[in-house]
């Protein structure tokens, strides 16, 4: 039994049932990392939210999402709340808005711990500070007492990472965790993410539009386009033997080292014009 089995997942929204995700199937073994890549609106985030059971109320979900054998689709909110943050957790894209501005960050991390472990406040504090240190924050004591606006984007994203990892979940979903960060900070955060995921032995569903980032963290990749999975395989297979023209475009644009000086840089459109474009 795989840790996460998604089969024939279809999500549509509203009365007109606009389909955001169509018949997506994949599986993820314990400790494995799967990159999900695709452009904006390709259904990456909707897939992630469906796995977490966090889709808005106007979403219609069909198909099946099984986490360690337990069906997620159609489960009650309270049953899901018990799993979220404990067995599975999520790292969000925007470090600027994913932390409550009115709460000290240490308390926000402690809250996750308290919700699932019922830890007493004194001991929770030690765990929180230790976790903040583990994700690479230089002065965890001070950071724990800070409000979000007193921290930089990179620091906040690491706090969010700490929130997601403090209960040692089996599955961590990262939704473009480094998109909002500048390149140097991005490299640092990715490195830490890699480290803590390995240390915790957690599986990861890593969403990104950046093939270079995905190849740095993941061994398996799945390419999404207009709500469907168009290609899946190992990172190596994708780079060497992509079959779908869209994937070939992605690979070409990520290999800037192959571009000749003075030549025009490749774009995805050179390979794949799209159906509606």
């Amino acid at each position: 039994m795989s840790l996460l089995e998604v089969s024939d997942l279809t999500v549509s929204f509203g009365r007109r049932r606009v389909e955001a995700v169509r018949g997506v199937s994949f599986r993820l073994e314990a400790g494995q990392r799967l990159g999900v890549i695709g452009e904006s609106g390709s259904g990456k985030t909707v897939t992630a939210l469906a796995v977490m059971g966090l889709l808005p109320e106007n979403a219609h979900v069909s198909g099946s999402v099984r986490l360690a054998g337990t069906e997620i689709v159609g489960r009650s909110e309270s049953a899901l709340a018990g799993l979220r943050g404990d067995v599975m957790s999520m790292v969000f894209q925007e470090p600027m808005t994913a932390l409550d501005p009115t709460m000290r960050v240490g308390r926000q991390v402690a809250e996750v711990l308290r919700l699932h472990q019922g830890a007493e406040s004194g001991r929770a504090r030690d765990r929180v500070v230790a976790m903040l240190g583990e994700v690479g924050l230089a002065d965890p004591e001070r950071v724990a007492d800070a409000f979000p606006h007193q921290l930089s984007g990179g620091q906040r994203q690491r706090v969010i990472l700490a929130m997601a990892l403090i209960n040692s979940p089996d599955l961590v979903i990262c939704d473009e965790p480094t998109t909002a960060l500048d390149v140097t900070v991005q490299a640092l955060v990715l490195e830490k993410l890699d480290e803590v995921l390995t240390a915790a032995g957690a599986a990861c569903l890593f969403i990104s539009h950046d093939l270079a980032v995905v190849s740095q963290v993941c061994d398996q990749v799945m390419v999404m386009l207009d709500g469907e999975v168009v290609e899946a395989g190992t990172v190596k297979e994708l780079f060497t033997a992509a079959t779908h023209p869209y994937t070939r475009g992605l690979v070409a644009t990520s290999r800037l080292d192959l571009a000749e000086p003075g030549e025009r840089l490749p774009t995805v459109e050179d390979y794949y014009a799209g159906e509606q474009r």
Binding site: A81, R84, S89, M90, E94, A98, D100, T102
Partner: protein
């Protein structure tokens, strides 16, 4: 400029508060005892603003009036906030028919004239400070409910609430831990503006004799007494009128200043 608004508001409000507190322990003269020999003295010494038609020191009466106004404001705005904010949060959080019912009832209360409510309460219980507070408080509930509902909707749609849900926080825990603290600035601004309205309403009600009865001084019933002496001593109406105007201005400026100060978008622009 924005800062000046807040500072002037704070100074005026501070003045009212200090005056009210001092009046509990000390006033220059007895604010209710009639002194027949000293009727309608002009401004001077020792009666800085003169005396009224009963020979009572006007400064003393204004000071006690500030106390009444603050008391009525605090209780009525407090009542409105304590009832209105949870109702608004409930409407925003639950949505659907709960939202509809709560907000339509709020609309009905909002449409019902506050003055009529005050007359009703005064007719049943007799006009007193208490009925005035109740009437003003009930009439202010819808404003707080609306602010809280709009704010809740905004907070619930934010990333950090989604993040809290992704960590397993239940909806009700989110309401207490994330929504309420983020509503605090909005509610604070509304309270300040509501306070200004409460002062005006209290003045109007006691002017009409529907609130604090004489001989206890309020700015409203001082105005009423002054009206009868309009042709003899026109200055009599100026003092309570000025007090009302400055207090209302103070709370309005404080409310606007707070809004600008707390709104990060406006802060960046200025």
């Amino acid at each position: 400029m924005k800062r000046a608004q807040l500072v002037i508001g704070l100074v005026l409000v501070g003045l009212v508060v200090v005056t009210a507190v001092v009046s509990i322990f000390w006033t220059p003269f007895d604010p209710v005892r009639v002194v027949p020999g000293q009727r309608l003295l002009g401004p001077g010494w020792p009666h800085l603003l003169g005396t009224d038609g009963f020979g009572i020191d006007i400064v003393s009466r204004l000071m006690v009036g500030a106390r009444t106004v603050l008391f009525v404001g605090i209780i009525s705005v407090g009542l409105a906030a304590v009832v209105g904010v949870p109702l608004g949060m409930l409407a925003g959080q639950a949505g659907g028919w709960v939202d509809e019912v709560v907000m339509r009832v709020a609309d009905i209360v909002y449409a019902f004239p506050a003055l009529l409510l005050a007359i009703l309460l005064a007719a049943v219980f007799g006009g007193s400070t208490l009925t005035a507070m109740a009437a003003i408080g009930i009439a202010s509930i819808p404003a707080f409910a609306r602010v809280a509902r709009a704010g809740s909707l905004q907070v619930i749609a934010s990333d950090f609430v989604l993040a809290a849900r992704a960590s397993g926080t239940s909806r009700w825990a989110i309401a207490g831990r994330h929504v309420l603290p983020n509503l605090a600035p909005l509610v604070g601004v509304q309270a300040s503006v509501g306070f200004a309205l409460a002062i005006l309403a209290e003045a109007a009600l006691s002017y009409l004799g529907l609130a604090t009865p004489r001989p206890n001084p309020t700015w409203g019933n001082m105005l009423r007494d002054a009206q009868e002496l309009m042709w003899v001593a026109p200055l009599q109406a100026l003092w309570p009128g000025l007090a009302i105007a400055l207090a209302v201005l103070g709370f309005n400026l404080l409310g606007d200043g707070l809004r600008d100060y707390l709104d990060p978008r406006l802060r960046e622009v200025s």
